[in-house]
């Protein structure tokens, strides 16, 4: 092939396409294009989406050297950069909290930063400088392992739509003010917080994910909330504390979310929700709730069962239900209140749209079986019920199956699939 006759086709592509291509490269390779030819020298310098991570430097055994290299790389890059920066991601293990990060944030705040992800090393948590709160064009903020202490005059990020804070040290009122100060907030994720008592007022919030030890969560004003995912950790002291807490947690949490479509609760979620249950008011109907996932439900606690039932029965359009049980047949004591299912259980309720039920970690305790019986009796549209027995259940499996066989099924199409452990 005659080289002189071949043309260079890539250099003359529009800058917007070149930027798309360079954005899909790791940033180190993108910068390397600067020596390809004279036209390529500064094509990289106007990138608006920057992703820095530990791959920007060759692997080092010495962490300090790696840290220095990374700092130099990022500093020089930013210094040579031209134009606005819309997205900046820094995700590093080498780099600990350092004054360089403050300077980069100051630089970014002047460049109209819109999406910021900051995750630095584990030893020393990074303390967010005040210039972070001057990035008023932020639409997405994700922080890991840092300390937030906004200045008193900080009013919130008026454009922020997505907020994700993980392992962030911050005063509770600061979080609440932050949430209230971001009127456009649509997605909120708070992970690994300790003893947080939170009241959420967010008129546009659609997606909420909480994980950690929460003392109290009150969704005071979240009318548009669509997806909720909660993993509630609790220590035993907390549960006692909860017994004395006022108000019905169920109402406080799910009392104001009429648009809810998906609910996922893990670990101690149902326990948390069960506290104050008897004080509950007339339940809200969740017309749009289609998927409920509740993990580690204790079928030995009557209150938790009541919570589950209330949820299911308040959702006329429920289509899919996943429940995992935390009961253990070996240690389960004699089940009380089995009459509940005969006498107090609401009758005449049908789950008209329920199609799929997945039960996992089933151990065969009486309440679990009664619950399954209840479901089968009241789901005329049921198509699949899959059951995964718990790993400790070895000899009880046959009994479970025998019981299941007896249960009356409202749905002629229902298939009960009993999943054998794959050993």
């Amino acid at each position: 092939m005659d080289k002189s006759a071949d043309e260079d086709f890539i250099t003359d592509l529009p800058q917007s396409i070149i930027e798309i291509i360079l954005t899909k490269l790791p940033i180190r390779d993108a910068v390397r294009t600067s020596i390809l030819s004279s036209k390529w020298r500064y094509k990289w310098a106007t990138l608006t989406q920057l992703v820095f991570d530990d791959n920007c430097v060759s692997p080092f055994n010495d962490r300090i050297a790696a840290e220095n290299k990374l700092v130099k790389f990022i500093t020089r890059f930013l210094f040579l950069h031209e134009g606005p920066i819309h997205k900046f991601t820094l995700s590093t293990y080498y780099l600990q909290s350092s004054p360089d990060i403050d300077q980069w944030l100051l630089f970014l705040s002047r460049k109209g930063i819109k999406e910021l992800v900051l995750e630095v090393g584990e030893d020393e948590w990074f303390r967010a400088p005040s210039c972070l709160f001057a990035c008023l064009k932020l639409t997405s903020l994700e922080l890991l392992r840092c300390e937030l202490d906004p200045p008193p005059e900080f009013g919130g990020f008026s454009c922020l739509k997505y907020l994700n804070l993980q392992q962030v040290l911050v005063a509770p009122e600061v979080i609440e003010n932050l949430i209230s100060g971001c009127p456009l907030l649509e997605s909120l994720t708070l992970s690994y917080f300790d003893s947080l008592a939170l009241t959420v007022r967010a008129p546009n919030l659609k997606y909420l994910k909480l994980e950690g030890e929460f003392k109290d969560i009150c969704l005071e004003y979240t009318p548009l909330l669509v997806v909720i995912s909660v993993a509630m950790y609790m220590t035993d002291e907390k549960t006692e504390h909860f017994e004395q807490s006022s108000g019905c947690n169920f109402d406080k949490f799910l009392g104001g979310v009429p648009c809810l479509e998906r609910l996922t609760g893990q670990i101690y979620f149902t326990k948390y929700m069960s506290i104050g249950y008897e004080l509950g008011k007339v339940p809200l109907t969740y017309d749009h709730l289609k998927l409920i996932q509740l993990y580690q439900v204790s079928f030995e606690d009557m209150k938790e069962i009541l919570v589950v039932l209330r949820l299911i029965l308040s959702s006329p359009n429920l289509q899919e239900l996943h429940i995992s049980s935390s009961s253990n047949a070996i240690t389960a004591f004699e089940a009380s209140d089995l009459n509940f299912w005969e006498t107090d259980c609401p009758t005449g309720c049908t789950l008209k749209r329920l199609k799929t039920v997945k039960i996992s970690d089933l151990s065969g305790v009486p309440h679990e079986m009664e619950f399954l019986k209840f479901l089968l009796k009241n789901s005329p549209a049921l198509e699949v019920m899959s059951i995964l027995p718990g790993i400790y259940v070895s000899c009880g499996k046959l009994n479970v199956v025998i019981e299941l066989l007896r249960f009356r099924r409202a749905s002629p199409k229902a298939e009960i699939i009993f999943i054998q452990d794959q050993i």
Binding site: I10, P14, L25, I35, S37, S38, R41, V57, S58, L80
Partner: protein, 368 residues
């Protein structure tokens, strides 16, 4: 090319830049936002005479590819896996076709296809050495050796650079000995006038006056030290924005750090605070430049390198003087009234310095 189906289907007529017209099934063509908009807004495309004129970057061959893509993707009922498999096969093209396809897809505003082809091109570029990339895309290797060795590239940890910088440093020292007075072509149009001013005002801030004073004082002291810092200066890139960083970087990577000024620079590098960095820079650059402002020096660097590419030609001495004068004038504008007196006083000296520097650099580049 036009597939005429017997069923009642509506077609859209498209015309490429070479004049050829084809008709395409409506749902396929409407998958492209640009065509969709044309049809809806202007009503074109309904017949052969009113064919939609496609943008220039869409030639018939690549149009065929795009229409195949649209035809597959607009059909509902393909699983994600099927789509992925199709896409993977679709982009198995040579780089020339990939580039044309990207360009055409962009002009038709078909964003998913642009993303797909861009990703393919990125995968081709990723992990390759510059030589390999140039080979693949037939890029001209038209950067000078100096430009390639810039600290800009140092960001990618190439260990060769340190060595080469040392060699260059030594070579320059040798060349210094062989200087002759020759006239140099000068007046290259400045590319980044504004950025010079910006940078200057940024560096100088309020320091314009003190800097001039310092320049005058340290002029003699720095004659001795000119080599080292000038070597580092020679390594500098033309672009204004990088000046400070790069002069620092070069000094850092230069093996021989003999002088105070160089060690000052090295010290500055440890300092992470950019404010301190820049104030040190003011101070040091004043030391080196024969009384010339760093921005001026950078401009000179740039011009020299541009010239070097075009090779030697002999210009009258007057051109050089005119240029030097032009430099002074610009400096005057920047620094304001207070500095005028000092600069006008030094005019002649500076112009000689300009010439000197200029032509030193020229020689270096020519001989290297």
């Amino acid at each position: 090319m036009a597939i005429v189906r017997p069923e009642m289907k509506s077609y859209i007529w498209l015309q490429t830049t070479d004049g050829s017209i084809q008709e395409v099934e409506e749902e396929v063509a409407m998958f492209c936002p640009m065509i969709c908009r044309e049809v809806l807004q202007t009503g074109m495309g309904s017949s052969k005479n009113y064919a939609i004129k496609l943008p220039q970057r869409v030639n018939p061959a690549v149009l065929g590819l795009i229409l195949d893509y649209c035809r597959f993707h607009q059909l509902p009922g393909h699983s994600n896996k099927e789509l992925k498999t199709y896409d993977e096969k679709f982009i198995r093209l040579d780089t020339k076709n990939l580039c044309e396809l990207t360009s055409a897809a962009d002009s038709l505003q078909l964003r998913p296809l642009v993303d797909l082809t861009s990703r393919a091109l990125a995968r081709i570029i990723e992990g390759k050495t510059p030589e390999e990339i140039r080979e693949t895309f037939h890029l001209p290797d038209d950067l000078t050796e100096e430009e390639k060795l810039e600290p800009l590239r140092n960001m990618t940890d190439d260990p060769r650079i340190r060595l080469l910088n040392r060699l260059y440093a030594r070579k320059r020292k040798e060349l210094k000995e062989r200087e002759k007075v020759k006239n140099v072509e000068v007046a290259e149009e400045h590319m980044d006038k504004r950025s010079v001013d910006d940078l200057l005002s940024f560096i100088n801030g309020g320091d314009g006056d003190s800097k001039c004073v310092r320049s005058a004082k340290n002029k003699k002291k720095n004659r001795r030290r000119k080599d080292q810092p000038r070597n580092s200066a020679s390594n500098n890139d033309n672009e204004n924005r990088e000046k400070e960083t790069e002069s620092l970087n070069s000094a850092h990577y230069n093996g021989a750090v003999e002088d105070v000024s160089s060690s000052n620079r090295a010290l500055m590098l440890q300092d992470s605070s950019s404010a301190t960095l820049l104030s040190n820079l003011d101070f040091d650059d004043a030391d080196i430049d024969d009384g010339l402002d760093p921005a001026l020096k950078e401009e000179i660097d740039r011009e020299v390198e541009d010239f070097a590419r075009r090779l030697n030609s002999v210009w009258p001495e007057r051109m050089q003087e005119i240029y030097a004068l032009g430099q002074e004038r610009r400096l005057l504008q920047i620094h304001g009234n207070s500095s005028v007196a000092r600069y006008t006083g030094k005019r002649n000296g500076s112009s000689m310095n300009v010439a000197h520097l200029f032509y030193r650099k020229l020689i270096l580049i020519v001989f290297l």
